[in-house]
Amino acid sequence: MTTPEEEPVTEAELHAWLDGELPDDRRDAVRRYLDDHPEVAHRFASYRAQRTMTARAFAPLIDRPLPDRLKPPFSRRHRALPWLALAASLLAFVAGGAAGWLAHGWSAPGAPSSRAFVAEAVAAHRVFAAEVRHPVEVGADQEEHLVTWLGKRLGKPLRAPRLAGRGYELVGGRLLSDTDGPAAQLMYQDATGRRITLYARPTRDPADTSFRFAHDGNVQAFYWRDNGLAWALTGELDRVTLSGIAEDVYRALNS
């Protein structure tokens, strides 16, 4: 008779080991087996890397904003009378409109501060990107002074990334106050007068350089945290174009 330690190791057991489902009394046998079979150990190292990558790639999908139809109150098409369902959807539409920006925010746990942050950045964009005569406090002709001044108020050195490669030139910037204190807004404009804004404020939250995306009506924003500042790039551009610019901004700030 063989004891559990002496049974031959199966492929299924190796997977169970990888997934933390192997019974304790088989661990030593699996370890010995992998020591003796480096090619199998190598294959399972690939599987482990795969498993890690699956989580890394797909886990952030949980932070994507939900469409209204996936938020309560849910419609009950299978049961409700048609006019009730219609009334419910109209109600949801009205409520969604009134709740405005925040209703479109992240449903993810632990995200309220970034949700508030991006709402501030978008609100500032709406106000100043439309401003004709005084879009900025300090113009790009005084860029040196502008970034020194804003950096001093934020308590972090600031730079204005070059976005000419994307067709956007710096217009200037301004100091703003949001609920957490001082914030800075840099404005850029392309040859057609289209404007995008880069908004920054100090944050004590840990860095999270994954781009998060939010939108409110036609305004889209990518935001992230890096080097003690929370950043948001906002504009009325499509998601892909804006993400390309956001990547340039990120690279410029880290070069």
Binding site: S46, P73, Y250
Partner: protein, 173 residues
């Protein structure tokens, strides 16, 4: 014993972000995932009295979503919303740290070439963190099937990743 009425909109809504993440990774785009999750929520509400144990709500919702996906009632019928896998790979990569983006893009492309059966098993174990037993309950198959399917899925994904993506024959499944 908790009443079935405990399963209300709020209880289900708490599971929606997770269901949608799973559905999006499974079908490869958010529009179809939204249809699938919406159908799942409606079916769950219509059948909520069938759930005896409210603590099993998460697994129960995944089972409903799985059955809807297999039967493909609505989301497969969509026209004009099919997103090529490359777009989804770019989209997913944007939500990861810049240093990971290239690798994530390649990974999502390879993942998209797997069969639905293989994608399901890898997502339920690797992203949703379900145990073999829980996966068996969601998919309504024996545990042995879960384990052999998982082994095949991992080996297939390894071949796709290590063999590069230009393998026309492998795309045909």
């Amino acid at each position: 014993m908790p009443a079935a009425d405990d399963i209300d909109d709020r209880a289900i809504a708490a599971h929606v972000p997770r269901l949608r993440r799973y559905a999006a990774a499974l079908v490869g785009n958010l529009a179809d995932a939204d249809d699938l999750v919406q159908d799942c929520v409606e079916k769950a509400l219509a059948n909520r009295h069938a759930l005896r144990d409210p603590s099993r709500l998460g697994g129960w919702l995944l089972s409903i979503l799985h059955n809807l996906h297999v039967s493909g009632i609505r989301w497969r019928r969509r026209r004009g919303h099919e997103t090529p896998v490359e777009d989804f790979a770019d989209d997913v990569a944007l939500s990861t740290p810049p240093a990971d983006r290239g690798a994530v893009r390649d990974f999502v492309r390879a993942f998209g070439q797997l069969s639905e059966e293989h994608r399901r098993i890898l997502l339920l174990t690797g992203v949703e963190g379900l145990s073999y037993r829980e996966v068996a309950e969601v998919l309504e198959v024996p545990i042995g099937t879960v384990m052999s399917r998982l082994a095949r899925a991992r080996e297939r994904l390894r071949a796709l990743l290590e063999g590069g993506e230009e393998r026309p024959l492998r795309r045909i499944k």
